[in-house]
């Protein structure tokens, strides 16, 4: 009997992960993944996860670990969308178009409400571009900047080179640059950070790298008639903002100020190793050893709160 049960457990998948293609209004193909536990799901709204610029679905599901499976294991229906320029989606040539992709994803999902997890600079663009989107219920923003700061020397060099993750993966020096920007002072399951650099990233397009660099240098990104700062200043959705002290790409001082300007809708949680086991860097917030024990429960609990 034990052998039979073991066989059943081994054979029956913990999740179903399905893939579909979503075509945007301007005919760019986006990749959309769904994680669902067999045998029913929670009554909570589904959760949509958006990776950082240059990151792919692997930021939320790397070698079977990550926030996507963690949330799905607790009964939530989870989607990961790769917007243009990410993962297996079509090319992304502008941040404005990147931000507008969310609407097409929501249309394709045909949901009335959804909870959103966003990460880094991609999060700022997506939220600012969809500030008036009524289908978004609650948001968890991970290392998501409001006021862009002049980039560090390394970030500037990386973006001036076109944001080519592939160039970092090929050398020890490149790996060190990746570490300082994305995974500094962090603990990962063995091989995760290097493995993610090799297989979980995709080079930014030259125009997007240039746009991101200009955004950092100028402190704001123009969007239509206003800007990221203007739109996020008027932000009203209930939001949990998580900021890691060791983030070298979207540093916490750029993120935390959002709370002051969002008129009470943004709750801030920062981390430092004095209190937790981890300062949390850009990547370890998602794939670090301590993320499932510290970060993920905060995400789950926040989405479960009553309005």
């Amino acid at each position: 009997v034990i052998a039979f049960l073991s066989l059943i457990i081994a054979v029956v998948p913990e999740f179903t992960v399905s893939y579909r293609r979503v075509e945007t209004r301007d005919h760019v193909a986006l990749a959309l993944y769904r994680y669902q536990r067999p045998g029913g799901t929670s009554e909570r709204p589904p959760v949509l996860l958006i990776p950082e610029l240059g990151f792919s679905r692997a930021a939320y599901d790397f070698e079977g670990r990550g926030l996507a499976r963690w949330l799905a294991a607790r009964g939530l229906t989870v989607y990961v969308a790769e917007l243009r320029g990410q993962g297996k989606s079509g090319p992304g040539l502008s941040l404005e178009a990147f931000g507008a992709d969310l609407r097409d994803v929501l249309d394709a999902l045909k949901v009335e409400t959804i909870d959103l997890v966003v990460h880094g600079w991609a999060g700022s663009v997506v939220l600012a571009s969809n500030a008036a989107e009524p289908r978004i219920r609650r948001v968890v923003a991970l290392n998501t900047p409001l006021f862009a700061e002049p980039p560090s020397v390394l970030a500037e060099a990386f973006l001036e080179d076109g944001g080519r993750f592939s160039s970092l993966a090929g050398s020890p020096q490149g790996a060190q640059i990746f570490e300082l920007l994305f995974s500094m002072f962090s603990k990962f399951p063995r091989g995760t950070d290097r493995g993610f650099l090799s297989t979980g990233t995709r080079d930014l397009s030259r125009p997007v790298a240039a746009q991101l660099l200009a955004w950092m240098r100028q402190g704001d990104l123009p969007l239509g008639n206003d800007s990221v700062v203007a739109r996020l200043t008027d932000w009203t959705k209930p939001t949990l903002l998580l900021a890691g002290l060791a983030d070298g790409f979207a540093s916490p001082e750029q993120c935390a100020v959002w709370r002051e300007l969002a008129h009470g809708s943004v709750r801030l949680r920062t981390f430092s190793r004095v209190e937790t086991q981890e300062d949390f860097s850009h990547l370890s917030m998602l794939l670090g050893t301590h993320a499932p024990g510290i970060v993920f429960p905060l995400v789950y609990d926040f989405f479960g709160e009553e309005p």
Binding site: L245, A246, P252, F271, V274, E275, T276
Partner: protein, 355 residues
Amino acid sequence: MKSLVLVFLVLLGGCANLRVVPLPRDAERYRPRTGDGWELSLVRYRAVGPVTGRPVLLCHGISANERNMDLDENHSMARWFASKGREAWTMSVRATGDSDRPDPSKGRTLPIRFDQYWQHDLPTAIEHVRKVSGADSIDFVGHSMGGMMAYAYLSQGGQGLHAVATLGSPTRLDWGTGLEKFIRTLGPKLVSDDVLFPSEFGAQLTAPFQTLFDDGPFERFFYNPQSTLPETWQRFIAVGSSDTAGGVARQLLTLVETGRFASADGLLDFRADMARIRTPVLVVAAKLDRVALTPSVKDGYRALGGPKRWLLITRANGALGEYGHMDLIIGERAPDEVFRPVLDFFTQHELPRTH
């Protein structure tokens, strides 16, 4: 038995690091008196070689003293500035270092509050340095609470400072960490206005043990071994610590409780008034400062209304190691990575100001 011998030897080695290095022979001691009757300890380090600019006054943070700025010949902001042609002065605020201790019989009573530091101690030190040196105005470096003193002083119209550098100086400490809940809950119960917490004794007591554990609580909180050798930290904790005034701790609790940077009576909002500051300020933050998290330091930078510059010390900006809170003043490479940019900032503002 062998273990005991080993522990004894380790402690002996630790104690060897605790020897107090005397001040240099040519350091001059002064004791100006504040308007409310406290003598402060000031130490003057004359410029070596040709004078290149104004005197620089250096001020420590909370639970600390003047030796923060001159620990020994290899870890001394004071001697470094002097070697670059800048007369340097260190100071100890009341009830720290060699400054007067509370003595009710002489009218020096508790509570001591942060307000007394910026209303009495800092102006007294500034005036004394100006008087002795003959300078019309001086430059100032404040570490942690020392920088906050400058913010408060300047925000209320304080004069005599030409350019200022703050190192790891927060203007709010409510960032949603779990530690804050602990401080909010227990802080008001544990902290009393009328006591002087024996943090100096505690530091000296624990100093021999502080290098026994890798990644211990002091290391996590205060310094990064990438930048400060454990032996340096051990010596620092033994000679650079002072008792903590309960009234000061209580006043600064509001930074955690409400995020306000304000006078003890709540009437003065320093952060709001910092918009009036026109003195040039260099705001220096350490990437892995777990006392004054970078957002809390940046908050002060954003509040400043005059000429200002932001400097984040991190490997991504060229530093050879990450910095924590205390590494900014005692780090092994601080002279190149912190003091030098501060001096450059002061030098840049040496020209007569037009406003």
